[in-house]
Amino acid sequence: MEMLVVVSDLSYRYPDGTAALNGVSFAVAAGERVALLGPTGSGKSTLLQHLNGLLPATAGSVAIAGITVVPSTLRDVRRRVGLVFQDPNDQLFLPTLLEDVAFAPLNDGVPAHEAAHLARETLAELGLAGVEHRAAHHLSGGERRLAALATVLVSRPAVLVLDEPTGDLDARSRRRLVGLLLRREETLLVATHDLGIAESLCRRGVVLHEGRVVADAALGDLLVDRALLERYGLAAPLE
């Protein structure tokens, strides 16, 4: 089976010396959907940023489609990995949605008219046709989340990496997002502490705790292991 994402013995320390990741290793096959589970502060977001080369590994390595993430390969890696940040406001920084969605293709050298066409097409795919010329602050929370997704889907990435994708969404918007993600064919890596979302989207779970992988198994098996969920802060202990 072709491994699209390979993380080998990855460690990372923040500049203040805090260890965020300690020898993390796992691999994700093409087309696989993996939930990265763990409580707040377990290192999920830090790990995701390594997949896109936003943070340099202190030790170990990350490879995407056989390309090791190093400064000289960042352009290629970022074209293949679509990273959706936890807060859509971080991702939507231009005056209109169309400009935000066209940002990545333009950076890739796609001509402006073609980038605009791609952006419109992607927004329409996500049910956001008609709001292209609106600013992100005029959208609802759910629309903003979809718009943030559109900003990476427009580049047709091989791996879609989502950081807490449903944190601020109501039930209807969550359903809509899950429905959209289930129809996609990209390899999916979702960091969340929401077990319901993980179960809806993924078949495999990797549990992170204090920067280490403490479990990697079929999600169905993980979710019935009450002791494991309680031990790693993924479920409250029963009274």
């Binding site: 936003l54 940040f85 231009l94 066209a102 950076n107 600013a135 602050h137 580049s155």
Partner: protein, 255 residues
């Protein structure tokens, strides 16, 4: 009036919003430059320009009351900045304010400066009321403003809303705990909220930069739009330039 709704007439279909934003911007510059170039004492030409601005506001469906309210803030600044003319321009003393003597020439010059400012400010208010910020940015780009300026303005515009939202959240959180009831406490609260807001702005900026890098940002925010001029815009702009030209020419001949 919140700054969020400053462009509320941009969605109104009017002869003004049917022109391209670049034409609107150039029209505003023409009016402002025209009023600034009027020779001192050309009251009649100034009145003609002001009337033209009022007619444009009417065509743009911007109510006179709104125009007045929105002009007031910047007008007060012009008023204060030019108040020195009252006493600095030499001439026949009209009356005294303590040790300061107000001359009739000073009063006239002061009033003329305010008249000029009224034309320019009203034109600017019509522009921002009928043109959304993204459209204005496109107009700046069309006029070949340095890309670094338009890109910074674009990102700044979006971040402004995010930061105001964050400041409002901080303020609500403080108020919900009965903060800021006395004037001293209110001042302290304001300092605290501003400091927290700045700190959040810093981390927000860092996160946004990462999000840009993740999508291939390499130091330049590429432009997406270009707009095409239409005959209507050209005609409207030419008519305005002609009007201002005739008024200016007439004023200089008469003076």
């Amino acid at each position: 009036m919140s700054f969020r709704h400053v462009d509320q007439y941009a969605a109104v279909v009017s002869p003004v919003t049917r022109t391209v934003p670049t034409a609107r911007l150039l029209g505003t510059v023409t009016l402002a430059a025209g009023s600034a170039a009027l020779p001192f004492g050309a009251w009649m030409p100034l009145a003609v320009l002001f009337l033209a601005v009022l007619l444009i506001a009417r065509a743009a469906r911007v109510p006179a009351r709104q125009l007045f309210i929105r002009t007031t803030g910047p007008f007060v600044l012009v008023f204060l900045a030019s108040a020195g003319l009252l006493v600095l321009v030499p001439g026949e003393p009209l009356f005294t304010l303590g040790v300061l003597k107000v001359s009739s020439q000073g009063l006239e010059r002061f009033a003329f400066v305010l008249g000029r400012a009224s034309v320019a400010l009203s034109a600017a208010v019509i522009l921002v009321s009928t043109t959304s910020f993204p459209e204005l940015l496109h107009a700046f780009r069309e006029l070949r403003l340095p890309h670094v300026v338009t890109a910074s303005l674009g990102v700044g515009y979006r971040l402004l809303y995010i930061l105001v939202d964050e400041l409002e959240r901080l303020q609500r959180a403080a108020r919900s705990r009965n903060a800021g009831t006395g004037s001293t406490t209110r001042r302290r609260l304001l300092v605290g909220i501003t400091a927290a807001g700045l700190s959040r702005a810093f981390s927000r900026g860092e996160r946004t930069h990462r999000a840009m890098l993740a999508r291939g940002y390499a130091g330049d925010v590429p432009a997406l739009f270009s707009q095409s001029w239409d005959r209507r815009s050209t005609l409207a702009l030419v008519m305005l330039v002609l009007l201002v030209g005739i008024v200016l020419g007439g004023a200089h001949i008469l003076s």
